[in-house]
């Protein structure tokens, strides 16, 4: 019994310590004025994090938009309200699905790769040898990836949303025969730039920050063995996904709670 309570206490303390280490990583890596070197390194990371996630984001967006168009149409046609298909597709994608699904895919595609990369660097003592050469790995390795994640996520989410709405329009207008003018004009009158689109972009920036933070921290904090890296990679995807969904609820309550 006492051993159980003891282990519980250890776990709680470990959670605190992990949070503290994550905060330390944040402070040590990006809470400073970016230098010219940072910009160059970040730019290179944008390729790994942003460009390589582009295909999965775009293809998923297209299919999610098409499914939404199809499902929305079959339900709305029962009420003769198929003119509301445009607002349905656009609002659900711009407000929720765009930022959230793009971030989930981003965590799976880019987050796991970041963790594995940094974890392997730690396991092969590349980080330690960098420190030996008086190169701060926080600045050289962590910070560029962090910046790149925060920049890439909103762009990817915007691409996801645009492609998904195009997919919804493709199914709704070209296939199911919803009136094209009505589809787009009803959408334009329902979607507000400040309330909907900008809030969606803000969401995706927050998601990008947290997903990248979790990913680089899990990599940096991993146990430097093959098993440790694999566990860290799993933890990145699990924790990042949970963080995205929990933060999404929080942000939605803050942004849309009083708009009704």
């Amino acid at each position: 019994m006492i051993a159980y309570i003891q282990s519980l206490g250890t776990r709680v303390m470990e959670t605190f310590a992990t949070t503290g280490r994550a905060g330390k990583l944040l402070a040590g890596s990006i809470l400073r004025i970016p230098t010219f070197k940072d910009i160059y390194l970040t730019y290179m990371q944008l390729y790994n994090i942003g460009v390589q996630s582009l295909l999965i984001i775009a293809v998923s967006g297209l299919f999610i938009g098409m499914v939404l168009g199809l499902q929305g149409y079959t339900t709305l046609i029962k009420f003769g309200a198929e003119s509301a298909l445009g607002p349905l597709v656009a609002l659900s994608i711009v407000r929720e699905l765009g930022p959230v699904v793009a971030a989930l895919l981003f965590a799976g595609r880019a987050g796991s790769a970041l963790t594995a990369e940094i974890g392997l660097m730690k396991a092969t003592e590349q980080l330690a040898s960098m420190e030996m050469m008086a190169v701060n790995p926080m600045h050289r390795i962590i910070a560029p990836r962090f910046f790149a994640g925060i920049i890439a996520m909103p762009l990817l989410a915007a691409i996801f949303s645009a492609v998904a709405i195009f997919g919804g329009g493709l199914v709704g207008v070209s296939w199911l025969g919803v009136d094209e003018g009505g589809f787009w004009s009803a959408m334009q009158s329902a979607v507000d730039w400040n309330n909907d689109v900008v809030n969606g972009i803000i969401k995706s920036i927050v998601f990008g920050f947290f997903v990248t933070w979790i990913a680089v921290f899990r990599g940096y904090d991993s146990v430097p063995t093959s098993e440790g890296i694999s566990r860290s990679t799993t933890q990145t995807v699990v924790h990042a996904s949970l963080a995205i969904l929990a933060l999404d609820f929080l942000l939605t309550a803050l942004m849309f709670g009083d708009v009704v």
Binding site: Y43, L46, Y47, A158, I165, Q188, W193
Partner: protein, 154 residues
């Protein structure tokens, strides 16, 4: 891969991202309509505003001419005051204009409808529309119907 090639691909990626944001702005949202910032505000007193909300459309003859900017309750008369901002383009509304709260379709959103009067004077910033017609509240309508029905039986 050569650095130059990566550079080009990243630039391409970022441009696609910005195009996506621009597409969301122009094609999907009503940024054109919210960019019409130049507006003047007038207000109207109602007995009951029903389901009218801030940012509900203000229409004249079905054309969007502004949006509801504020809804408050007058502290003295305890009646709702609706403030609306009308686009500057429509600055020749006569003072006799009447305001009524209507519903788009049977179950649609409520909007503020203005119908022009014949007066020569023009509504300006801060003016109040006197002639108003409140929203139809469906419960009140049913209540009236039931009441009149039973009274005619007596």
């Amino acid at each position: 891969m050569k650095y130059r090639q990566i550079e080009i691909i990243i630039g391409f990626f970022m441009i696609i991202g910005f195009i996506a944001v621009a597409a969301l702005a122009v094609k999907v949202s009503n940024i054109a309509d919210s960019s019409e910032k130049a507006s003047y505000s007038i207000s109207a007193n109602f007995d009951n505003i029903g389901g009218l909300k801030v940012r509900s459309p203000v229409r004249m003859g079905g054309v969007l001419i502004g949006r509801v900017s504020n809804i408050t309750l007058d502290e003295d008369t305890l009646s709702p005051v609706v403030t609306m901002s009308i686009f500057n383009r429509y600055n020749k509304l006569p003072t006799e204009t009447t305001a009524s709260i209507l519903t788009a379709g049977l179950l649609g959103e409520q909007y503020l409808s203005l119908s022009p009067g014949g007066d020569d004077e023009i509504l300006a910033e801060g003016d109040v529309i006197e002639d108003t017609q409140s929203a139809l509240v469906i419960e009140e309508l049913i209540g009236k119907f039931l009441f009149s029905d039973s009274s005619s039986d007596l």
